[in-house]
Assembly symmetry: C2
Homo-oligomer: 166 residues x 2
DNA sequence: AAACAAAATGATCTGAAGGTCTTTAAGTCC
DNA sequence: GGACTTAAAGACCTTCAGATCATTTTGTTT
């Protein structure tokens, strides 16, 4: 349904994983293992991310993947654009060929409204949000008895509404 | 993005076309031509619809496709179920494998809300709504000067909220 | 320079959706 | 019963996302 491609999802998880490493280069292999992703495929995705300048990749000893921008400055929409995810291309819900604002299908208004909300969510949510959520979840799992202190990050996406439509 | 498969869209258009014929059997060929769909492919889709009892198909002279239920009794969700469209299977927006209500990904709440709205729309919209919309559009195109009377059907989906979750 | 460790690259495989074509079966009409 | 008309069915084909594997670069360390 209203979903990103698997590759985009992998990219988001991987970026979140790199963000959590706080600057220390992460190997493709490490990322793949910690996120449970297929390493050779992830390698290609990371390469695409590096070509658009989201990450830096370094070969050789002490190499790996690092972020080129702050995690709070990478929105999920950025990732979708980088990988040309179909979510950014408007498409008729019913598959009507000549469906547009001018020649709207019966589902057009509804569909455009939904699309707007998804784009808004993707723009408002950053890699840092994902990383924080994952980290929180891990801490919560560790704190089985309940007296461990919680991290200070908020639950929802940080409000970042600058940037332009795709 | 939040879209049905092409086949499901084809099915909805075809059913709407059959509904507009008001009981007169429509040939696959006629439907394909009027909706601009590939006829052999449409044939397979119609066959699937007939196997689940949405339409009746009749071979030979005066044969063709007719609805087995009233157009106002066929929701888009029925069509999705008939063709097992992926829209009815919940899936994580980020592609996280073990994402569920219990083990939610950062996009889970948003995603489930969006999904609910789509399901609701699909349940509230019927083949009759699509047919009415298409007929209205055609009349509007004919009435270039503006004095032709409009049909009496409403614009939005008729409110039908019975039925159960998929 | 040599050895090694990593990502980059290209070839290839798989499965599913979408699509075409030909043959077959099931009806109707004369 | 024979000719005709129609959907059904089966065999393919194409495209693309997802995925794997082997090989080649590019870098670091000694």
């Amino acid at each position: 349904m209203a979903t990103l491609t698997q590759g985009t999802g992998y990219a988001i998880q991987a970026l979140s994983c790199v963000a959590a490493a706080a600057g220390k280069p992460q190997l493709i292999r490490e990322i793949a293992e910690s996120c449970d992703l297929p390493a050779p495929y992830l390698s290609k995705i990371v390469h695409r991310l590096s070509r658009v300048g989201l990450v830096k990749t370094q070969r050789g000893i002490n190499g790996g993947v690092t972020l080129l921008r702050e995690a709070v400055d990478i929105t999920l929409l950025d990732v979708c654009r980088a990988l040309d995810d179909p979510v950014i291309h408007p498409r008729c819900l019913l598959g009507v060929a000549e469906c547009s604002d001018a020649r709207a299908c019966p589902a057009h208004a509804f569909n455009m409204e939904q699309r707007g909300k998804i784009i808004e969510f993707l723009r408002a949510t950053t890699v840092a949000d994902i990383a924080a959520f994952e980290m929180k979840r891990r801490w919560r799992l560790l704190a089985t008895a309940g007296e461990t202190s919680e991290p200070a990050t908020s639950d929802g996406p940080s409000e970042r509404t600058e940037g332009s439509e795709p």
